[in-house]
């Protein structure tokens, strides 16, 4: 028998009995960040590929969602900070080795690109609102400018949005200290998942049947790729260090097995895969609305499960001699 036991009580908040520093706020941020990336990429792609006709929603109106979704994500991220007044400290330095610092600065670039992306199709997509802008000279000039460079803006948006999508994965995989995250597949996986959720979103809210169909097909392809990446991720851990192999157990029999395989793989990937296949092949369209909803749900589930399982994975494995719940008595008025 081997015992590794903490013999002094430890109930450090967020750390014990296992690391649980980040909860839904960060998962939501990662999800919304990925969605933003997908939204921008598709909006840009439709421009670059001249798909105004086939995909009018994606080409002209989708871009507007990016800053809204991203801002919602930033809000949840802000909620996670423990020292909120000091949020501005992200922008008083640039730490070249910290993906989080990169992320903070990428956002600074993403916002203006995204705004320009919106403006470049504002008149065609949101004519009513554009009318207000057109009443001012400056507004008119800006809209003219963006329209003129619509293609160029889209070309710039694609790499930056892709970077944003990959970043949401790298953010986690950079933590060598968390064996579960320590895989190069996480970046591509999160990017593809983000794009898949964006495709699903379009399929869900686009009005034209042909556009819905197009994005259903795109999503189907992305889901297939995502499944491949998930497999790669698992293989990656399974063939990794001892710590990674240990960490993998959390989804292979460990506490996250059920949520990973049922919620994420089953409900988030395989069922939509099936439904979308049925839809495209024309066998059944009854559940057409359901597939994209499940994809969006799967996208969030992926972030939450990765976040939870990854935090708990660790280099240290100590049992505790004490029930650290007893320490709560220190904070109770009348324990």
């Amino acid at each position: 028998m081997k015992e590794e036991l903490l013999v002094t009580a430890r109930g450090n908040e967020l750390i014990d009995p296992s690391l649980h520093i980040w909860t839904w706020e960060v998962a939501m941020y990662l999800f919304l960040g990925g969605l933003t990336a997908g939204v921008m990429v598709f909006a840009a792609l439709m421009t670059v590929l001249n798909k105004d006709e086939e995909a009018p929603f994606a080409a002209k109106r989708l871009a507007l969602l990016a800053p809204l979704v991203l801002s919602a994500g930033m809000t949840t991220l802000f909620l996670d900070l423990e020292h909120k007044l000091f949020v501005y400290r992200f922008y008083t330095s640039f730490q070249i080795t910290s993906p989080m610092s990169w992320g903070a600065w990428i956002l600074v670039v993403i916002y203006p690109i995204s705004i320009m992306q919106i403006l470049s199709t504002f008149r065609s997509g949101y004519g009513f609102f554009a009318g207000f802008a057109d009443r001012m000279t400056i507004g008119r000039e800006i809209l003219d400018f963006c329209e003129r460079y619509r293609r160029q803006i889209a070309m710039v948006a694609i790499p930056f949005a892709t970077a944003l999508g990959i970043y949401t994965g790298i953010l986690l995989s950079a933590f060598g200290a968390r064996p579960f995250w320590n895989s190069g597949v996480l970046g591509p996986l999160f990017l593809v998942s983000g794009m898949s959720t964006a495709a699903a979103l379009v399929a869900l809210i686009a009005r034209h049947h042909s556009e819905k169909a197009l994005f259903t097909r795109i999503d189907l392809g992305l889901i297939v790729v995502e499944i491949a990446l998930v497999a790669l991720f698992l293989i990656n851990l399974a063939t990794g260090t001892g710590q990674q192999i240990d960490a993998l157990q959390s989804v292979l029999g460990g506490p996250y097995t059920l949520v990973f395989w049922v919620l994420f793989v089953g409900i988030g990937l395989l069922i939509p895969l099936l439904l979308e296949t049925l839809e495209i092949t024309g066998v059944s369209k009854k559940l057409a609305m359901l597939a994209p909803i499940l994809v969006l749900f799967g996208g969030y589930a992926l972030r939450q499960i990765m976040l939870d399982a990854g935090q708990e994975s660790s280099w240290t494995h100590y049992d505790t001699q004490y029930n650290s719940e007893l320490l709560e008595r220190l904070h109770e008025e009348n324990p």
Binding site: V7, I21, D80, F86, S98, Y318
Partner: protein, 180 residues
């Protein structure tokens, strides 16, 4: 760069936890939180057994991933040493450094919102004193000093005794050593 190290003799450590209490009082560590802790590792089958006690804390790594992953520079090195500190006025409480430490040594989420951790008692080191935990240990099994000075006690101990560090595979190059 001065490399400070802590060298702890597992032959005489009895797992008493004095180092933990001394840290709490010296550094006013908020109630219920710890900057250091003691691990007991027992292997074998009764009556053929071996037990090792280890007083653990931040390793003030030569390659501190907590510092490299901090987005604001709040986690930083003290002066020109390997002592890893956190500047509360730069800390956003994003907790990246907690996740970044393979030793789970970034223990203290201060109730005021910033990260608090073992400082190697730099406020004492500065005055030429040992850290509080080291100078409290009743068995005197803890030693502190500079590895750059070949005549320091820690250098000598590492030269003459067998030792280990925790999970060297992390690549963090920890600077808390355990004599065997």
């Amino acid at each position: 760069m001065t490399r400070f190290a802590m060298v702890i003799d597992t032959r005489t450590c009895i797992g008493c936890g004095d180092c933990v209490v001394a840290c709490k009082t010296e550094n006013n560590v908020p109630e219920g939180l710890n900057r250091d802790w003691v691990v007991e590792a027992t292997s074998g089958t009764y009556p053929d057994l071996k037990t090792e006690f280890r007083s653990e804390r931040c390793n003030h790594c030569s390659n501190p991933t907590c510092v490299t992953l901090c987005p604001t520079g709040a986690s930083h090195l003290w002066k020109d040493t390997n002592i890893v500190l956190v500047e509360p006025e730069k800390c956003t409480g994003c907790k990246a450094c907690i996740a970044a430490c393979p030793y789970d040594a970034r223990l203290v989420m201060h109730p005021d919102g910033y990260i608090d951790k073992c400082t190697f008692c730099h406020h004492r080191v500065e005055k030429g004193m040992d850290p509080a935990c080291v100078s409290s240990c009743p068995t005197r099994c803890m030693h502190f000093g500079s590895l750059d000075d070949p005549s320091s006690e820690v250098s000598k101990l590492l030269k003459t005794r067998e030792y280990k560090v925790l999970s060297p595979e992390t690549g963090n190059e920890p600077n808390v050593y355990y004599l065997l």
